[in-house]
């Protein structure tokens, strides 16, 4: 039995996949705290799709995939910023237009100039078949992101929470905005390898959203999210060996499962907890110990 459970570790590609997914999953999860609080989920989705043309061009030209992906992601972000500031079109429409345009261009490029990368790999990821060179690129990107977040998370937190105060104490908010955007594009590129363009946004949103249900402190939120990101990615990659299914699919389904559990049973912000609270205070208002409940509520 144990022998059976250990089989994935006999294969080098499985070990690599598990480790790389875990690392990327953790970094994406850290960033997801900022993404959910800043309301950038759609932006994350857009960037992860917008990197596709860059990837196909890099493969055609034999450049590192991360470079092309990053450039095309940032171009998309700039295009969105430009349209938003120059026209009256709402942000969601802007994002919708820009990212589909980029994605379509990528699809078209790949179909016109077939290279050794298939559309399927980009869209759904292929962590099991990841080349060593790609692993290096992915690790470098995630590593830089991790370092920047470790050094600057408090500034980014203040920027997300109250940009005016950030500016009032002399922080460069434009730079912080660009930093966050760059990190988002970079992790979208890194996660591309693990789960593919379609599912990147899940890694960049779900852990943060889950942690947000579980705590009221940002520090803890980052810890919860990253633990969840690492664990689900490692387990997902490991489990996909036995299921013989898509690694990205496994990871994201696991994350969604944990999110649903948190949604239902989170101690304070969960559905069950609010139900119970509502019911008990309704009952108490009519009962004799109304005052006690009111006090409990006030101190919670």
């Amino acid at each position: 039995m144990i022998e059976h459970l250990l089989t994935p570790f006999h294969y080098e590609y499985m070990v690599k996949a598990i480790l790389v997914s875990g690392f990327i999953g953790g970094v994406c999860a850290l960033l997801s705290c900022f993404v959910t609080l800043k309301g950038w989920s759609l932006m994350g989705d857009a960037l992860s799709h917008a990197v596709v043309p860059g990837v196909s061009i890099s493969y055609l030209l034999g450049l590192p995939f991360a470079l092309g992906a990053f450039v095309s992601g940032m171009l998309a972000a700039l295009a969105m910023g430009f349209i938003k500031s120059r026209t009256r079109i709402r942000e969601d429409a802007t994002i919708g237009i820009v990212f589909t345009t980029f994605f379509a261009a990528g699809v078209l490029l790949i179909s016109l100039y077939p290279s050794n990368i298939s559309l399927k790999t980009i869209v759904f990821g292929n962590i099991l078949g990841i080349a060593n060179a790609d692993i290096v690129q992915t690790l470098i990107i995630s590593g830089i992101t991790l370092v920047v977040l470790a050094l600057k998370w408090k500034d980014l937190l203040l920027f997300a929470f109250d940009p005016n105060q950030a500016r009032a104490i002399g922080l460069n908010t434009t730079l912080l905005h660009l930093t966050l955007l760059t990190l988002l594009a970079a992790t979208a590129v890194a996660a591309l390898q693990a789960v593919g363009a379609c599912l990147v946004v899940a890694m960049l949103v779900t852990p943060g959203a889950t942690a947000y249900l579980l705590t009221d402190r940002f520090g803890r939120m980052m810890v919860i999210a990253s633990v969840m990101g690492v664990l689900t990615s490692v387990t997902g990659a490991y489990g996909s060996y036995f299921l013989n299914g898509s690694t990205g699919g496994c990871i994201v389904v696991l994350q969604a499962g944990i999110f649903l559990l948190a949604l239902a049973f989170a101690p304070k912000h969960g559905i069950v907890a609010s139900r119970i609270r509502a019911r008990s205070s309704a009952a108490a208002r009519s009962g004799p110990d109304a005052a006690t409940t009111l006090v409990t509520e006030a101190t919670r």
């Binding site: 609080l37 408090k154 929470f161 105060q165 500016r167 009032a168 104490i169 002399g170 705590t215 402190r217």
Partner: protein, 291 residues
């Protein structure tokens, strides 16, 4: 350091839609002053604050804080700001304590690690607004007045020499208002410049040394006693003020008994027959204040 002053010279601000919200505004404030900024809705009070905060760049004119341009002054933590409707996400996962510590960021190292000194200042600031007991609350779990006080504590923790408060009294009960006024007085006595925008005209003569009356430009600026007059206010507010003349005595013809009540819908401002502000509030912040 102690002679930090605020100079606004010929400031004109236009928004992106071409609307000129402020034209050629000028005034100067010296250390140890509480100054009221009054004007109708849309007269440009918040715009003036934004110009001093550097959120909008004046089309013409300059703002100098202690002789320095706005950005440089901010980098030195000279300016603290309490926003109008704190357009803050109240569900954000930060506690009262986190928010107040954010006021100290400018003094911390690049990793923003609070030293003992920062923590002491933060807890003293919370104590000054009587919110220390709430320090572990998530910020959404406070009443409107408590939220205001937390942001006031953040401004205190920042130790800004120039404090900008955009309508700190809106939605605040009389007791909290008195407590805030007491606090502002203490700040003035410590040599800070406090600039407060308010619609509570009644309290202005009570605690403000100077006032700036604006309506898309500075109509009048100077000591409250000579500037905050019925004539100036009527000019600034036009029909926006309720102006009631009372005379409840037996000799209605005699001006000597007449009172004029001006109100911008918050605290009423009462003038005596010569157009001088009269105190009718019955509120004595020194008796009623906390502590």
């Amino acid at each position: 350091m102690s002679d930090l002053n605020l100079t606004v010279r010929g400031v004109t601000v236009a928004y992106a839609n071409g609307h000129v919200a402020l034209r050629d505004a000028s005034f100067k404030l010296n250390p140890g002053t509480i100054c009221a900024l009054v004007g109708v809705n849309g007269s440009g009070k918040s715009t003036l604050f934004k110009a001093i905060m550097g959120f909008v760049r004046p089309m013409r004119g300059t703002v100098r804080i202690g002789g320095e341009p706005v950005r440089a002054a901010h980098k030195r933590n000279w300016v603290a700001y309490v926003p109008q409707s704190e357009d803050v996400d109240w569900a954000f996962p930060v506690s009262v304590w986190d928010v107040v510590l954010m006021g100290r960021y400018g003094y911390m190292n690049l990793l923003r690690m609070p030293r003992r000194h920062d923590k002491e200042i933060a807890s003293r600031s919370l104590d000054r607004v009587q919110m220390l007991d709430f320090k572990d609350r998530q910020i959404g779990e406070l009443s409107g007045g408590q939220k205001k006080r937390v942001f006031l504590a953040r401004a205190l923790a920042q130790k800004g020499r120039l404090m900008l408060l955009d309508e700190p009294f809106t939605g605040v009960d009389v007791k909290t208002e008195a407590a805030i006024i007491d606090l502002l007085r203490e700040l003035r006595d410590e040599g800070h410049i406090v600039l407060v925008s308010t619609h509570d005209l009644g309290s202005v003569p009570e605690f403000c040394d100077e006032c700036v009356i604006i309506n898309r430009t500075v109509l009048a600026a100077g000591p409250t006693a000579t500037t905050f007059t019925e004539a100036n206010l009527t000019q600034a507010f036009g029909g926006a003020l309720r102006n009631v003349r009372f005379d409840h005595t037996d000799t209605p013809g005699a001006r000597a008994n007449e009172f004029h009540v001006l109100t911008d819908d918050e605290g009423a401002l009462v003038f005596d027959q010569d157009g001088r502000p009269a105190r009718v509030h019955g509120r004595q912040p020194s008796d009623e204040g906390p502590r």
